[in-house]
């Protein structure tokens, strides 16, 4: 009696929605490269799955007064643990690009 053969795949969209969900919890960061009431999604989150694991790049705009480096650090921690817990995929790189500042 052998084990059943089969592949197991997780699409990039799944990873994007996981990352979006995590980022919504982090105060002071909003999606980059968009205006107004934009939500996190494909435009601000890029995902690449390679041999070494998942590569994630996030573009953000920070609120004025927020300690950006600390918020970004928090985002990285939460994204990596959430992805590894839920998908079992290995994270190879997380890159947070801070593109702008929200004021008022």
């Amino acid at each position: 009696m052998g084990e059943v053969q089969g592949k197991f795949a997780i699409s990039d969209d799944v990873i994007i929605s996981l990352v979006s969900h995590v980022l919504e919890e982090i105060e002071g960061l909003s999606p980059g490269s968009s205006s107004g009431f934009a939500r996190w999604g494909k435009k601000s989150i890029k995902v690449k799955q390679g041999e070494h694991g998942v590569n994630i790049e996030v573009r953000v705009i920070a609120d004025y007064g927020v300690a950006i480096h600390k918020a970004a650090e928090e985002a990285v921690e939460k994204i990596s643990s959430r992805i590894q817990d839920i998908t079992g995929l290995k994270v190879s790189e997380i890159r947070i690009r801070v593109e702008g500042v929200n004021y008022e």
Partner: protein
């Protein structure tokens, strides 16, 4: 140009936090323009006139250079008349340094403050703005009608 503030390799994955120079510019610009005694940021001398800039251009009037040692920031301001400028320099330097370091974690090595103009009350400026608004309105109505 982007500044990487938190690159770490010792973890099982690579992480990087990059802050665009424009972000540092905006932070420095907001901090400087909020300082008591600063009337406005100056966009540099254009045609011999120090132009006043509105809030949407907060990244202007600020130059940023970042290297391994930290950031060097040049701030161009228009001061309110009656302010003691030597005190104003200190205040602007302190506010810019605190804001940039607090928000980005980047060490600020140097803040140079250039005063490019003095403001004598607001009458002159508000008239200019009013005039500009009227011109814009006139142009729009020409286009519309």
């Amino acid at each position: 140009m982007e500044t990487t503030v938190g690159e770490r390799g010792e973890k099982e994955f690579k992480e990087a936090v990059e802050i665009a120079d424009e972000v540092i510019q905006v932070i420095a610009g907001i901090a400087a323009s909020r300082t008591e005694g600063v009337a406005a940021m100056s966009g540099g001398i254009t045609d011999g006139i120090a132009k006043r800039l509105g809030r949407k251009n907060l990244s202007r009037g600020v130059k940023v250079a970042v290297n391994e040692e930290g950031a060097k920031i040049d701030v161009y301001i228009i001061a309110k008349c009656g302010t003691v400028l030597t005190d104003l320099f200190r205040e602007v330097q302190k506010n810019v340094k605190n804001a940039v370091e607090g928000m980005t974690g980047i060490t600020v090595e140097e803040v140079n403050v250039y005063t490019q103009g003095l403001s004598f009350g607001n009458e002159e400026n508000s008239e200019e703005v009013e005039e500009e608004k009227q011109i814009v309105k006139a142009e729009k109505s020409v286009e519309g009608g």
